[in-house]
């Protein structure tokens, strides 16, 4: 009988890009497989398992069925890891929470709206205990491997909590604001190695907020660089509608 950790991989409401990123571990996939038994992964394999040492869960919770399934997975898992921003904060799905849910359903399905039940898009942690987070839209392979390695070795993974600006400075990038663009780097949690500003794009905030974000100052900076207050708020909400709930105005 194998003593390797039994791993299950699950998905809820999301694009499955984080899962795909695992199939994209072309260089590490075989090494990863050598250290664990993947016992359940619907996107890649047949079969189901009763218990998991580690459950990696992608996606936000947004239907009654999601709530039932996540409780079931939690009960059968020793360690549960939220994979990607949808699972950690609700992610881009949570923008729908900023508008009346009935209006949203009617716009999409019209008179057939009652065929398909829906809830506000929620992070896993609002329903079950989450042991670790791997952030990002999509999560980076580097961070996944770090968390994975720590768990397999019985160590505690460390979650970054500085702003993207810190990593951007370390890469000696010209500040995005200097180029006449806006950027959410000052309030966004690092760990991505400032990937977007390093290739000419602004930080869209995809990794969620740092633990003590100065949202008011961020809004002020965005407005000072030409956005309306509404537009500044919309930009900040893109991945962080849940986190910003109750923060600021």
């Amino acid at each position: 009988m194998s003593t390797r950790p039994r791993v299950g991989i699950f998905d809820f409401t999301g694009c499955e890009g984080c899962e795909l990123n695992k199939l994209n571990f072309e260089d590490q996939l075989l090494d990863i497989l050598a250290h664990v038994d993947i016992v359940e992964w619907r996107e890649a394999m047949d079969g189901k398992a009763p218990v998991y040492d580690i459950a990696f869960v992608e996606g936000a919770l947004s239907t009654p069925d999601c709530i039932k399934r996540i409780h079931d997975i939690r009960r059968r898992s020793k360690v549960l890891v939220a994979l990607g921003t949808c699972a950690v904060t609700g992610g881009i799905n949570a923008v729908k929470n900023t508008r009346p849910i009935e209006q949203v359903r009617e716009e999409v399905y019209g008179e057939d709206k009652y065929l398909f039940p829906t809830l506000p898009a929620l992070p896993l942690s609002s329903v079950v205990r989450v042991d670790h987070n791997v952030r990002g839209c999509p999560m980076t392979q580097r961070e996944f491997v770090q968390v994975f390695t720590a768990l397999v070795m019985g160590k505690q993974p460390v979650e970054p909590d500085q702003a993207v600006c810190v990593e951007c400075k370390l890469r000696e990038n010209e500040c995005v604001y200097e180029k006449g663009m806006i950027c959410l780097g000052p309030v966004t949690r690092a760990g991505c190695d400032a990937q977007c500003p390093s290739v000419g794009q602004y930080c869209t905030g995809c990794r969620g907020l740092v633990s003590a974000p100065n949202v008011a100052a961020m809004e002020e900076i965005l407005v000072a660089h030409g956005l309306s207050k509404d537009e500044a708020w919309r930009r900040m909400q893109l991945y962080n509608a849940n986190e910003l709930e109750g923060v600021g105005r």
Binding site: F12, T13, G14, C15, E16, G17, C18, E19, L20, N21, L23, N24, E26, D27, L29, L30, L33, I38, W41, R42, E43, A44, M45, D46, G47, S62, T63, D65, C66, G91, I92, N93, V95, K96, T98, R99, V104, R105, E107, V108, Y109, G110, D112, L115, F116, T118, A121, C137, P138, Q195, C196, V199, G200, Q201, T204, E231, R234, R235, L238
Partner: protein, 437 residues
């Protein structure tokens, strides 16, 4: 033959997203044969409404991790048409390079990791690591290179960063492109030729089934259409992409959170097999040789052979990527900034061939450059009615077989379409009713 049959496959494995296969037969009469789409809806309209044109492609790429590049490029084309943003020839070539790389990656992923286990009687690719290590290593190597090409040109293969309205935020260097070209020629081409041999050895496991079908894809005069072209039906010929609504006709069915589509028949098929049937004359000689080796013929009506058409296409994409790099390097790379000064605010349509078939985005912008209306029609949504029709023909033909064998044939059928269920649900009818533009 009188027989009862109840098949209910909940959350079909090795497809992207959540779907159930439901088949019921009572006393030899088929009551139901359908793919139920149970993916949680994501209501993308709530995300797009009122959003700046800078954000449209960032948001729509999150519809699907597997097709993020396709959504992004299609979104950019729709935005650029709506805002009157001209793009350079270099931008078009770089986008074509991205699309060929993404199609190559996706086709390899599906053929090796999601479909091939069925041909070998396995539940996943993982047992093949031990039994067929050289095949798995080759598949990973091909995927790695295709993804590296996406990382290089777009900053990141999943949810690309650098493609923006009007161009790119970063242009790759000539040295980077030259090194990619070398790897494509020295590594991808031999791996593709080996792939043909592998697939040939597995092709015996592909069910013999056929159903006359309408096939719809883009078609271009001068190339195998992926980036743009007219909408072409095997039944009625070509129309411009602006007529996409007439060529899709979405409607709601109760068993699917994704809408269904039809044009000239009760259903139609999009994807690699549709592209093959419409555009095989535009494939490069290497891909045509691969098709001959694998027994893929024009006018093919066996949906299981969609996987084979994907393999053939993968070879074309690899060689076309080399040709595109040669053009880029021959013309000389220019350090261009994206053109982001709108000349108008109106409506624009983008139509692109993404791995699973033709994808449409349409946006209307208000005078502040914010989205007032959006509509996106996804390949898998277009295929759903066709999958149901295939199942209805297939089940009576194989009814004498054991239930397990029937179930496997149904699962293989759905997988052959390489369905991307997240996609098909994530952007249903994204029309904002009563919105002023």
């Amino acid at each position: 033959m009188s027989r009862n049959l109840d098949i209910n496959v909940r959350h079909l494995t090795r497809v992207e997203g959540h779907g159930d296969i439901v088949v019921n037969m009572r006393d030899g009469v088929l009551e139901k044969a359908e793919l139920d789409i149970v993916e949680a809806p994501r209501y993308f309209e709530a995300l797009l409404k009122g959003r700046s044109f800078h954000e449209a492609a960032i948001i729509t790429s999150r519809i699907c991790g597997i097709c993020s590049l396709g959504h992004q490029i299609t979104s950019l084309k729709a935005t650029e048409q709506a805002l009157g943003l001209e793009v350079s020839e270099q931008t078009v070539l770089l986008r074509k390079l991205l699309i060929h790389g993404a199609t190559l990656q996706s086709n390899v992923l599906h053929a090796y990791f999601l479909a091939a286990p069925d041909f070998l009687g396995k539940g996943s690719v993982f047992p093949l690591v031990a039994s067929h290590p050289e095949v798995v290593t080759r598949a990973l190597r091909m995927k790695r290179l295709a993804n590296d090409s996406g990382d290089l040109v777009s900053g990141r293969a999943v949810h690309p960063i650098t493609p923006v309205p009007g161009g790119f935020t970063r242009i790759p260097t000539a040295a980077e492109l030259a090194s990619l070209r070398t790897r494509l020629v020295e590594q991808m081409v031999p791996d593709f030729l080996a792939t043909i041999e592998t697939m040939k050895s597995l092709a015996g496991a592909i069910p013999d089934f056929s159903r006359p079908t309408e096939y719809i894809s883009l078609r271009a005069a001068d190339e195998y259409a992926l980036y743009d072209g007219d909408i072409c039906s095997t039944d009625t010929g070509c129309v411009p992409d602006t007529e996409y609504r007439r060529m899709t006709n979405e409607f709601v069915v109760a068993h699917s959170t994704s809408k269904h589509c039809r044009v000239n028949r009760s259903s139609y098929m999009v994807g690699a097999l549709a592209r093959w049937n419409n555009n095989h004359d535009k494939l490069c000689p290497t891909a045509l040789e691969a098709a001959a080796e694998l027994g893929l013929k024009p006018g093919c009506t066996n949906p299981y052979l969609n996987t084979i058409a994907q393999v053939v296409e993968a070879g074309h994409c690899a060689l076309e990527a080399v040709a595109i790099i040669d053009r880029l390097l021959g013309d000389g790379l220019k350090a261009e900034a994206p053109n982001q000064e709108p000349t108008r605010f109106g409506t624009g349509v983008g139509a692109t061939e993404v791995p699973r078939g033709i994808l449409y985005h349409e946006y209307t912008y208000d005078r502040q450059g914010r989205i007032a209306r959006a509509n996106c029609i996804i390949p898998t949504g277009q295929n759903l009615a066709n999958i149901d029709d295939d199942m209805k023909k297939l089940v009576p033909e194989v009814i004498a077989e054991p239930q397990e064998a029937i179930t496997l044939k149904l699962e293989m059928l759905v997988r052959a379409y390489d369905p991307c269920i997240s996609c098909s649900v994530h952007l249903l009818d994204v029309t904002f009713k009563g919105q002023e533009s």
